[in-house]
């Protein structure tokens, strides 16, 4: 009986969400959303759970957010899963994060996974050489397996730093410039941009960082120059529909103002 009631409530919830999304879609929608998933450990501490469960709760929050993005028709989603700076944490925490990542990456290969259900193409962006062979191999397998998907693009930044990404792009640009027979040609902005790992996606329209911190933490510095920044106070596992809707409504408000300004000039 209770199963039937909860199923009914879920249907009602999904129906009302679809109506809400239909209303929001009347205005301009972002093409690319980026998330800094901050606050997992604080969440576990707050609820008195053991350390690892914060990250697990964070993962389910991520899946829910991906579902909403898919329903809204948002094409690109980028997440900051693990920074190069995070390697400086305690070895036990780093190891447990790596283990969790390995499990979750492998689960993406399952036929029932969200990746196949929604037609998600997955990219792993970062200095993958810093990861263990197992995690790297799993990541490469997922990238290969989802290469044909085209409905949604999920970019997972792991072992990533924006400054590291820029250094690699500068290195490649310098190498190409050196090999260039036309010695007079100066490096242009497009040369650097096409060598950035994130060039597979357009620049994010909105960057959402949970847990109320207002800083970029070396994430997508190059790409977020014009992005709207949104930092709700909720910890990442507490992130929900209302935060996403609020971010999009603010985006729509400033989007019309920016379009007006662009037309002025």
């Amino acid at each position: 009986m209770s199963g039937g009631v909860s199923q009914l409530l879920e249907q009602i919830h999904m129906f009302s969400r679809r109506c809400l999304f239909r209303v929001i879609s009347m205005g301009p929608l972002p093409i690319h959303l980026a998330f800094i998933m901050d606050g997992n450990r604080r969440y576990a501490k707050k609820l008195g759970l053991e350390d690892g469960s914060g990250h697990k709760a964070g993962f389910s929050a991520l899946m829910t957010m991906l579902q909403y993005c898919y329903e809204l028709g948002i094409k690109y989603v980028t997440i900051y899963a693990f920074s190069i700076d995070n390697f400086r944490r305690k070895p036990e925490e780093v190891q447990s994060l790596m283990d969790l990542m390995l499990v979750k990456i492998k689960s993406l290969l399952d036929k029932e996974s969200i990746v196949h259900e929604y037609g998600i193409r997955v990219y792993f962006i970062g200095n993958l050489g810093l990861l263990s062979d197992q995690v790297r191999a799993a990541a490469e397998e997922v990238m290969k397996a989802t290469a044909e998907n085209c409905r949604v693009v999920l970019l997972v930044c792991v072992a990533y730093n924006s400054t590291d990404e820029i250094v690699q792009a500068v290195k490649r640009s310098c190498m190409n410039n050196k090999a260039d027979r036309d010695g007079e040609r100066r490096i242009q902005l497009v040369d650097i941009e096409e060598n950035m790992q994130m060039s597979v996606a357009p620049e994010p329209d909105i960057l959402i960082r949970s847990s109320g911190e207002t800083r970029l933490s070396n994430f997508l510095l190059w790409q977020t120059g014009s992005s709207q920044l949104f930092s709700p106070g909720a910890l990442w596992p507490e992130i929900g529909l209302r935060h996403l809707v609020w971010a999009i409504l603010n985006f729509q408000r400033s989007h019309s103002y920016l379009e007006k300004r662009k037309k002025q000039f």
């Binding site: 995070n86 400054t163 820029i166 290195k171 490096i187 902005l189 207002t214 510095l221 992005s227 000039f265």
Partner: protein, 306 residues
């Protein structure tokens, strides 16, 4: 005693022409700025309460307002001075009045930084994106900048403030470049506060010019491609003019929640503060609020607080 080798002609009264309009500027000792529109809409006087920065010395270092702690003061503060145009529009004034009011607001903040022990203040005066604005406005902004630099040089030198200008200087008028070189040269040994003004600047431009510098060094055989790392890029960025190139705090006024391509690389771990007020209204109280917010934040740089 610092001798100022500023040629006397640069303090002459000037007449500024811009297209069909004639604007007459007079920068007098009585600190009144006049703006007269030729078509006779009347004299619009904007009195600047303090057109000269009040001199401050180490002995007069102000005690911090309640709630702020000296040991938690940021070393480097960056500011995006947004909202001059909107401020002017709200008051029914012309955009140039907004920019002039913006200069006043900047004076106040520079003074406070000097008194409160902030060592570097970087301000976003003019972005590479701003070149698409109407020529009239651009000409006005650059000439305002030139005049302000000249008129403030003496005070800044007296107050031990060092000025550095960063940005793409290739599009700037020659007269402005001359003044910039002069000001940088005269103030280069000052140590109390370094004021970095970003003109014709953008974060991507800075990384691009650093990349070009590095590519040239690679071509010349000075360095190998494998040796390129974060430190090398940092050295080539235009913020290499300061000991503290990374802002601890970035303040943006007018409620816009974006960085607008200002100081890209350098903002990796900067605390961002978005103020609702328009820049000319952002004064001491807004600055205190931003500093208080900064001092309450926990900075972890990717690690964990134990």
């Amino acid at each position: 005693m610092l001798s100022l080798r500023v040629p006397p002609t640069s303090f002459n009264f000037r007449r500024f022409h811009a297209g069909a309009l004639e604007r007459r500027w007079r920068l007098g000792r009585d600190s009144l700025l006049y703006f007269s529109h030729r078509r006779g809409t009347g004299l619009l006087g904007v009195r600047s309460a303090k057109s000269e920065m009040a001199p401050f010395t180490a002995a007069e270092e102000e005690t911090l307002p309640e709630g702020l702690q000296r040991e938690l003061m940021p070393k480097h503060v960056a500011v995006i001075m947004d909202g001059n145009g909107r401020w002017a529009k709200n008051k029914g004034l012309q955009p140039w009045d907004g920019h002039r009011a913006g200069v006043e607001a900047l004076r106040e903040i520079v003074e406070l930084c000097g008194k409160w022990g902030i060592q570097v203040l970087t301000v976003f005066a003019f972005s590479t994106d701003n070149w698409i604005r109407p020529k009239i406005e651009i000409d006005f902004l650059l000439s305002l900048f030139e005049r302000t630099l000249k008129s403030e040089l003496e005070t800044l030198a007296k107050n031990n403030v060092r000025i550095s200008i960063i940005g793409d200087s290739s599009k700037l008028p020659k007269s402005l470049l001359k003044v910039i070189n002069e000001v940088e040269e005269v103030t280069k040994n000052n140590t109390r506060l370094q004021l970095i003004v970003a003109v014709g600047y953008s974060g991507k431009y800075d990384v691009l010019q650093a990349c070009r510098g590095i590519a040239q060094r690679v071509k010349d055989g000075e360095i190998k491609v494998e040796e390129i790392d974060e430190r090398l890029i940092e050295q080539e960025l235009e913020t290499n003019c300061t000991e503290f190139p990374y802002p601890d705090l970035l303040i943006r006024t007018s409620g816009e929640l974006r960085v607008s391509n200002f100081l890209l690389w350098q903002l990796a771990y900067t605390e961002l503060f978005f103020a609702q007020e328009l820049w000319p209204d952002f004064g001491r109280s807004g600055f205190i609020e931003a500093l208080m917010s900064f001092q309450q934040r926990q900075r972890r740089f990717g690690g964990r607080k134990s």
